[in-house]
Point group: C2
């Protein structure tokens, strides 16, 4: 913020308390998207944000969808500067179980420097930092140094049906195509966590996922294991054999072509992770396990963030009650999933899996494999031109240079943005791992909130310096 | 029945209808042992049998136990002739579900040559054949050619607690020790099936069993498979690996020493089974399987009757509901059992199993192995001196020479009789596989009932010819 740096900083400092109050106002609106009895509050939360954008003079509108509306706003174009798409969501998780909250979920309370309320960190508090940083620019410099487009949905916690239809062009009507409307050089999402308290981070990669249900069918009825044991293939035995045949003792997944498209960790990435001094002992103690385990040749962080995995998510067969029942079950089933790393294709994995299970399935039983859902991973190379500006902005806002991490989970939207809008996403999380985003006593650190606003203000400045034509 | 053969035969024929009526009288007493509201009927069924023995002039008594009483009777000793112990039970399974019966379960009805009632085949009808054959002898020859001891319990369907205590000597008091009281040369039990209609059989072997529950414990709570997948051992993955490591692709169980004590099939046994012309195609069609499978090198009958097996009886872990849940479960569990063949020791198997699971269990999880119950198998060599007399008697009673078969299931009592009383058991089943012993519409063929009485009458004659001193 060359000429007006001090001015914006001052403005943000002077208005910090009001910002906090505004966040609390928004948190009071119980925008639980999945439960229709909150529909009025969902709409009120959308309107609240729309008004916020309108007060800043941004071109703003409510986009009606099949479900809850999208709030869209954009600032004026700035020649030769990059365009940023900011995504967020104004809806929240249901607050249940209510009796586990120390204070009512929609009556924000401040304790120990945190604001406690449903939606505090996920995602109202984090999203609002980007709106307020814009206010800082508008009220001091009178304009932003680049164009920002805000895309804020109200169904992130209940399936994003409206957003998906919007991205698929279903609401384009006579207006511009959605790809043109949302066209930008980079997407920014603040809806995740820092690496730890005082350790801001840029999450530059996510794993994908592909999830299956496998049903193994044997005889047409449950049989007596005495009379029939030894005559027919036991579906539960067969299921165990199939599942154990999908991964070897070194944690390598045994599916044809599974590793073909895996992008290996770069030496720089491995060094970045190593520098985090991950506390293995504390991690084990927290989980109550005697050892961390997984694919040979990789550290725990590498395995969690950048290596594919195979996990059985559910298992069932035969008798699960007390005592003994000598049944040879007619059926057995499992749910399982693979976390994929960037560049692995869920469709290709599913094909290899089917081939492998066909090999592993013993005679006398047959199987059904249901492909439940898949999403590719996402990766923004550390060398991406937006990475260093983002790191600088965070360093200025938080006083600490961010670390570069990946997320082990999957955010399908990041893949959709890449696929449908052609842009990468920077995940700049201001939250903490213990913010309880889907649990009682959700919170957000007010210090992180204010630092997030500052980092965001710097982010527009830093990104605006990127020469688009270079 | 040398001198009086024709006389006994005639007597049995002349009284056939009364025998049938007497069976129906007994079946009317709803002796459901597991449900205390039937306690009066259980007692009445015991008394009915006691009276039956008393009317024949046998030394008879009710032996009170911790549960339902034992009915005991014995005929006078016969010098130089073998002694036979006949075991049976007068209690029955609960009749539920009642609405699936075509006629009330305790109002015996005759249809298509069968008597339909709970207990018809299991075991009142089958046991009664031995009582009525004694009547035939008593009313014609005036005595039996050997001594018979009847041991009839009322808790076979609910755990046999009283009988087990009786066999352990708990009710001996000042009287003779139970081993002396029940001392005999052979035990006869009719509480199973023929090989098929018109194909009477001697079941000369049973499999044992040893049943376990395995619990695999990983992290102290369910985890998100995205954030944690790749860091810790998944208990459901580990369980699959352990279970599949207990048996190889050839159906050979992978436990140290597992096959050490297995008694191999003799060439005569294999020939006997082959002669049964087991209908593989009909069996597969009935079960709805494309193939029968199991240990390499053995036929289906051999595998069912005379080879040990490993069957998973139950499996559970993580999420079993609809849809997908990306959980890395904290726990996984299985129930499984081995059918053992004669001479395998359940205790030794359990030790080998524990060793094998310890080898197979991956780091990062631990396991609990619960040994739920075990019973050894039983085998009476075909060369046993009682075998051929029994075969002859059945041939005379049924008009067809019996086949020699084994049972795939386990009858722990047969092991107890061997272990505590030192005698082998001949299982002479007069029932059929479709008699529904534990299901609605239990039945017993009246023709098999009458033939069973005759075969039993011949049995006493044939066995009495065995020279005890030879």
């Amino acid at each position: 913020m060359p000429q007006s740096t001090a001015e914006i900083q001052n403005y943000l400092d002077e208005n910090a308390e009001r910002f906090q109050n505004e966040l609390c106002d928004w948190l009071r609106l119980a925008s639980v998207s999945t439960d229709s009895k909150f529909a009025g509050d969902v709409r009120a939360a959308a309107d609240w944000l729309l008004t916020r954008f309108q007060n800043l003079g941004f071109e703003s509108q409510i986009i009606e969808t099949v479900g809850h509306p999208i709030v869209y706003a954009e600032t004026p174009p700035v020649a030769d500067a990059p365009v940023v798409l900011v995504y967020g969501h104004y809806d929240v998780q249901p607050p249940d179980p209510l009796d586990l909250w120390d204070a009512p979920p929609f009556e924000p309370t401040i304790r120990n420097g945190n604001v406690y309320a449903r939606g505090a960190t996920d995602d109202k508090g984090q999203l609002l930092t980007h709106v307020l940083s814009c206010e800082g620019w508008m009220k001091t410099a009178g304009k932003l140094p680049l164009q920002i487009k805000f895309l804020v949905e109200g169904e992130e916690e209940c399936g994003s049906e409206g957003l998906n239809e919007f991205l698929a062009g279903k609401y384009d009507g006579d207006g511009p195509r959605v790809e043109d409307r949302l066209a930008a050089d980079i997407c920014v999402i603040s809806d995740c966590s820092q690496y730890g308290p005082g350790q801001p981070a840029i999450t530059y990669g996510l794993r994908g996922i592909t999830y299956f249900e496998l049903r193994v069918n044997g005889p047409n009825r449950d049989l007596h294991s005495g009379s029939f044991g030894g005559a027919v293939t036991n579906p539960a035995n067969a299921l165990s054999k199939i599942l154990s045949g999908l991964i070897d003792g070194d944690g390598r997944i045994q599916i044809p072509g599974f590793y073909d498209d895996v992008i290996d960790l770069t030496p720089r990435e491995r060094k970045e992770y190593e520098s985090l001094n991950f506390d293995e002992a504390a991690y084990q103690q927290d989980l109550g396990v005697a050892a961390t385990t997984g694919e040979s040749g990789y550290t725990t962080l590498e395995r969690r963030w950048a290596r594919p995995t195979f996990d059985v998510n559910g298992l069932w067969s035969g008798y699960q009650g007390e005592g003994a029942k000598t049944v040879l079950p007619a059926k057995a089933g499992a749910k399982f999933s693979f976390r994929l790393v960037p560049n692995q294709d869920p469709v290709k994995i599913a094909e290899g899996l089917r081939q492998r299970i066909t090999e592993l399935c013993p005679p006398g039983v047959n199987f059904e494999l249901v492909d439940m859902h898949g999403a590719p991973g996402a990766l923004v190379p550390l060398e991406n031109p937006f990475m260093e500006p983002a790191a600088k902005a965070i360093e200025k806002g938080f006083g600490t240079r961010p670390v570069f991490i990946r997320g082990g989970g999957s955010i399908p939207l990041v893949g959709s943005i890449k696929q449908q809008l052609g842009m990468d996403t920077l995940l700049l999380g201001w939250g903490q791992d213990d913010d309880n985003p889907h649990s009682p006593n959700e919170k957000f650190s007010l210090e992180d909130f204010q630092k997030g606003i500052k980092a965001s203000a710097w982010l527009w400045q830093e990104i605006s310096q990127i020469n688009k034509s270079s």
